[in-house]
């Protein structure tokens, strides 16, 4: 196991872009974790003169917004929201996706047919419109945004899990399990799933990136949770001031872009490192 891990790390590190992404992700996580120490007071509190440009006053390295709130503090706390929603939404999507995909492939026949039509349904509904509808009906709470984003993101995971399960379900080890009288659930999740998991994990990491973009769009439109600081909301708030203080929009956008970029690079790196076809190229 240890050699496997070392081997994996070496392969991952050979991809320089993935390494850059990994470092960036660590930085974002670090900022999110350290936010309460770096900025012990409420980030939505007014600290100084409004619209101070970045790099002008060393106390507010990223400047202040239209109300005089510290942008650096809001960015740091926004990292927590972003990562939390991204992770939870991706987890939701992964759980739904694996359950649907695994059930469809394992049982086949009409179960497969019904579940794949169901998957198709969620591919047809315009995803952002669906998220906005759910949030507007259920209410602007961070939980609802997370669940809504998860509900529109499980589609590719279900398809991938199904494909993996289809290639595994008739293998000898599965037949052996059946011959031993193992139950369906135990075979599906105890025996087949561990073998199907690596590519699914890669996709889940990419779903986090997508979820971050979704969340930013929802809070940009002003439909996110008003009680948490969020990068998307910051951009939305700064929009009216683009003629004078466009940096208020620019800074959080860069934060979103770097985070999504880093997550994508790590996902690609994981894919290369786990994909047996590209091994030892």
């Amino acid at each position: 196991m240890l050699t496997l891990t070392v081997d994996f790390a070496r392969r991952f590190a050979r991809n320089r872009a993935a390494l850059v992404g990994f470092v960036l992700v660590v930085v974002v996580i670090g900022v999110a974790v350290a936010a309460p120490w770096m900025f012990p007071r409420n980030p939505l509190r007014i600290v100084g003169r409004p619209e101070i440009w970045p790099f002008v006053n060393p106390r507010y390295p990223l400047g202040t917004d239209s109300l005089g709130r510290d942008i650096a503090a809001m960015i740091a706390y926004g990292a927590r929201t972003t990562l939390l929603i991204g992770l939870c939404a991706s987890l939701t999507a992964t759980i739904i996706g694996i359950t649907v995909g695994a059930t469809a492939a394992y049982f086949g026949g009409w179960v497969d047919e019904v579940l794949m039509r169901f998957t198709e349904l969620f591919q047809t509904i315009p995803n952002l419109i669906f998220v906005l509808t759910i949030v507007s009906i259920l209410g602007q709470k961070i939980e609802y945004v997370t669940i809504a984003v998860g509900i529109v993101s499980w589609n590719p995971i279900a398809r991938l899990t199904r494909a993996e399960f289809l290639s595994l379900r008739d293998r000898e080890f599965v037949q052996a399990c059946r011959a031993m009288g193992m139950g369906n659930l135990r075979i599906m999740f105890g025996e087949i799933l561990p073998n199907a998991l690596p590519p699914v994990i890669v996709l889940s990491s990419l779903v986090i990136a997508g979820a971050v973009l979704f969340e930013s769009a929802v809070s940009f439109l002003g439909l996110g949770d008003p009680n948490v600081s969020s990068w998307g909301r910051l951009i939305g708030d700064g929009r009216t001031l683009i003629r004078t203080s466009w940096y208020i929009c620019a800074v959080p956008g860069v934060a979103i872009m770097l985070t999504v970029l880093a997550l994508n690079l790590v996902g690609d790196g994981l894919n290369d490192a786990l994909n047996p076809k590209l091994r030892d190229r």
Partner: protein, 322 residues
Amino acid sequence: MRRIVLRRLAQIIPLVFAVIVLNFVLIHLAPGSLFDVMTSEQQITDPSMLDQLRHTYGVDQPTWVQLVKYIWSVMRLDLGFSYRQNAPVLDVIMDQLPATLILMLSATAIALLVGVTAGVLASIRVNSIWDNLISLGAVFFFAAPSFWLGIMMTVLFAVKLGWFPVGGMRTIGTDNGAFADALDVMHHLVLPATALGLFYAATYARVMRASMLEVLRLDFVRTARAKGLSSTRVTLAHVMRNALFPVITLLGLQLGTILGGSVVIEAVFSWPGIGSLLFDSIMSRNFPMVLGVLVLGSLLVAVANAAVDLLYLRLDPRIRPR
């Protein structure tokens, strides 16, 4: 062939049916009665009107009767009535739909043009500076939120340089005939369509590059070269044509996302399409309109998906049935 087209179109029906049922479930998920929210938000207090509405929405009947009624009314294209615009939901959406379609089509065109060109360039000069620059650009545009890109482009090209208008679809108070009007709309369209299209351009560039490299290795390309065809001709007529298939597949899969993306872009550029309509309706809690946009949006994607599938059938003789 005709039977296949009909069968593919028939597959849309159960899908739309399912969307309607899902809509119904959403209505019933709402905390409290959606009917109460609707009537109070629209400030309807007249008892006779309330009764009529109660009858229209069938809130006094069992759930399954309500479901059947709801399905029946949507089947007759009755998506309800919007008291805000004082018009049927369908009419309001149909009024705004063309603007959204123009935006979506232009964004898709830009995405295809930029993405395919960049992908082809990168693939014929693998590992060159061009390839690296294109890959870098693709990585960035794939990560940038389109609404943010839109705002930044507005700052640069509209506010600082003044080349393009900040928002809207037409210059107010001008009437110089159809041609001038079309030019005016195109002028307003450049920034929103580009902001929306660049994300997809990044995706297509990556897919196109990989697909080109895949096809370039195939035997028929060597045959074409051996026949003495020029390398431009081989690249364009033989390789590119075959390498386009994954891009078309992706395009079909992403139509729903593009429609969703245009909602945000419309909000950024005050583009008067169904995105703006949806946003206003959410803000004013005009639920019949919100659900109407969801149903029609899904129908649009379902039809477009079918169209892409049929296009595929036409382009790729291998999957064409005999």
